[in-house]
């Protein structure tokens, strides 16, 4: 364990920005880097999936029902006489087999990749935006008092941390379940609900960071120069508070994908015929004994992608934490 002697900060590093320091530290963490590469790969895959499976006459058709060819194992050929020519798979083979309606699992997984990714991104996007907004306002304007006339009720900070407390107090999965069970089943509702129930962490982090940053010299300087409040927040504070947001966003995507698959299992997921990995998996569970590839494939896929995001996010967290960094 002689590494800790190398932690003396060398003089020339004083001019390197904290971002680069973090990046260098991140690169030394092999699992985190592997995670990042896997995430990028998944991203590319999802975009390909979108292009290949969209529209009425897609290149790879995820919705074509071929009852005659149901439950074909991976790498099997279609039965030519029984399947109509326009219904044959474009690749001439079922790379990942077919499901209970004879649909091409490969095409469905590609379609599902984009949907799962977008569920993650939109949900987290919503959470992050709300989190940054509320955290920023609480951190910066925290001491402003609210009230009407001369009656002063409470500070902005108290109000927002109160909101955070309320939001945190609800058992989130249960609440998501309740709301999703009430609203019309659709992708958007699920995304919005997941987003609306996961902003608290980000808000807290941002608030803490801004509270810490607010007293620093460069902010005082900005005030002295007369830079208006919102501009200070947007141009100076938030970019510096970005680190914890990135971490929770990355981890949040992983969580959103898992939550969506949990909802599918309970019957409240994205409705057909849209495919997400979550509902391919929960549809396949009925055929665990008879067509196991229908669960193994999406299950493994979800595992790999979520794992990648988790490792990536954890790596980021370690890299951004100056006390954990290694150089």
């Amino acid at each position: 364990m002689g590494r800790h002697t190398a932690r003396e900060t060398r003089p020339r590093d004083a001019t390197v920005s904290p971002a680069r320091l973090a990046w260098r530290s991140f690169l030394r963490n092999r699992t985190a880097v592997a995670g990042m590469l896997a995430c990028t790969l998944f991203f590319v895959l999802a975009l390909c999936g979108l292009v290949l499976t969209k529209g009425d006459h897609p290149i790879l058709d995820p919705r074509q029902v071929r009852l005659v060819d149901k439950f074909r194992p991976p790498l099997s050929l279609p039965t030519p006489r029984a399947v109509a020519p326009e219904a044959l798979p474009r690749l001439g083979i079922y790379p990942l087999g077919t499901d209970e309606l004879g649909r091409d699992v490969f095409a469905r997984m590609l379609e599902g990749a984009f949907v799962s990714l977008s569920v993650g991104f939109v949900a987290v996007g919503i959470a992050v935006i709300i989190g940054i907004a509320l955290g920023g306002i609480a951190g910066y304007y925290g001491r402003a008092r609210l009230g009407f006339g001369t009656v002063r009720l409470m500070t902005v900070d108290t109000l927002i941390t109160g909101l955070i407390d309320v939001a945190l107090s609800f058992p989130s999965f249960f609440l998501i379940l309740t709301v999703v069970a009430i609203l019309r089943p659709s992708i958007w509702n699920i995304m919005v609900v997941i987003g609306l129930t996961s902003w608290e962490g980000t808000a807290r982090f941002v608030r803490a960071e801004i509270l810490a940053l607010r007293e620093q010299d460069f902010i005082q300087a900005a005030h002295a120069l007369g830079v208006p409040g919102p501009r200070v927040i947007v141009r100076h504070l938030i970019p510096n508070a970005v680190a914890p947001v990135l971490v929770s966003a990355t981890l949040g995507i992983a969580g959103a994908i898992l939550t969506e698959s949990g909802l599918s299992f309970l019957g409240f997921g994205v409705p057909p015929p849209d495919a997400t990995w979550g509902n391919i998996l929960s549809d396949g569970k009925n055929f665990l004994f008879d067509a196991s590839w229908l669960t193994i494939i999406p299950g493994t896929a979800i595992l790999v992608v979520v794992l990648a995001f988790n490792l990536f996010g954890e790596g980021l967290r370690e890299a951004f934490n100056p006390r954990l960094r290694q150089l």
């Binding site: 699992t31 999965f173 299992f265």
Partner: protein, 324 residues
């Protein structure tokens, strides 16, 4: 210290109030009716439906419903729509069922998370650390129900043994070692699965806390003083790294309600999570709101407990009397 307590308490009360309003309001946006009334029964007339709605207070304006509902809830008189039984005894019965699962799960979580986290921190970036990291993360990245099924099928196919439910069904429930062991066996799979997420998260947290502490100055001082490595690590570093976990104890309490819906459904465990899920499906308003309410109350209690413990443990707060 007293001001801290009072201030916290006051805030918690307001939070509680808003929680009660929100959970009540959310439920009432639903268009459906309690599912016991099946309008598809060919011999059911609309008048029947009306009669039910009256009996269950659904015709009153919302604020009247709110007041009446919470009055009934607090007086213990609230009844489930499904079978007209009081809600509170149902929930209490289910808590007794969820408790052993929760307790064993928590026990497993703490027992495994600490050694794992500490060992990973000490052996940072070694093969051990990297392998455990991947495994631990894999466990939280896999969809919970998928892993459960794989495990159940594995055990049933290979060991021909029952893993569903509280105990081996149909066996006479005579008290004694046999029954105790039977119940223990049935706890193993569901609590282990429930604990995996917790183990992963906590062990990572332990690891990062340990890492922070290990690189601190006083640890270097201890080493420089020539103390044995083990003493340095386990006596000094660990104790300080553990400070935040004391407060985590409080935050575990809400776990009793929240996350176990999926596992309880799969293992046919009659606990709170399943009660909530089935109540949602059948629009059993009293149970859903009560559960949400109780969960929120438990969370508030948990955070209050955490705050108190934190206050006890962190001398800075005690002295300054402010919030952190």
């Amino acid at each position: 210290m007293l001001t801290f307590l009072l201030r916290t308490g006051w805030k918690k009360l307001w939070t509680l109030f808003f929680i009660s309003v929100i959970s009540f309001a959310v439920i009432h946006l639903a268009p459906g009716e309690p599912s016991q009334i099946d309008p598809m029964n060919p011999r059911f007339t609309p008048q029947q439906l009306e009669r039910y709605r009256k009996a269950f207070d659904l015709d009153q304006p919302l604020h009247v419903q709110y007041v009446r509902f919470y009055r009934k809830l607090l007086s213990g008189e609230l009844r489930s729509f499904k079978d007209n039984h009081p809600v509170m005894p149902k929930i209490v019965e289910r808590i007794w069922n969820s408790l052993p699962l929760f307790a064993v799960g928590t026990l497993l979580m703490w027992c495994f998370a600490f050694p794992l986290g500490v060992a990973s921190a000490i052996r940072r970036n070694s093969v051990f650390d990297q392998v455990t990291t991947v495994i631990v993360f894999a466990l939280i990245s896999v969809p919970g129900f998928y892993l459960s099924y794989l495990l159940i099928i594995f055990v049933v196919q290979n060991f021909h043994v029952d893993v569903i439910g509280l105990r081996t069904f149909g066996r006479p429930d005579t008290p004694g070692v046999l029954t105790l062991m039977d119940r223990t066996w049935h706890l193993v799979l569901p609590s282990a699965l429930g604990a995996t997420a917790g183990i992963a998260v906590i062990s990572r947290y332990v690891r990062s806390q340990m890492l922070e502490v290990i690189t601190a100055d006083y640890v270097r001082t201890a080493r420089a003083k020539g103390l044995e490595e083990d003493t340095v690590l386990y006596k000094h570093a660990l104790r300080n790294a553990l400070l935040p976990f004391v407060t985590m104890l409080g935050l575990l309490i809400p776990g009793l309600v929240g996350g176990s819906v999926i596992f309880e459904t799969i293992f046919a465990w009659p606990g709170l999570g399943r009660l909530g899920y089935e109540a949602i499906l059948s629009r059993d308003y009293p149970i859903v709101i009560t559960l949400n309410f109780i969960a929120a109350v438990l969370t508030l209690v948990g955070t209050l407990l955490s705050d108190l413990l934190y206050m006890v443990v962190d001398p800075r707060i005690r002295l300054e009397g402010g919030e952190v």
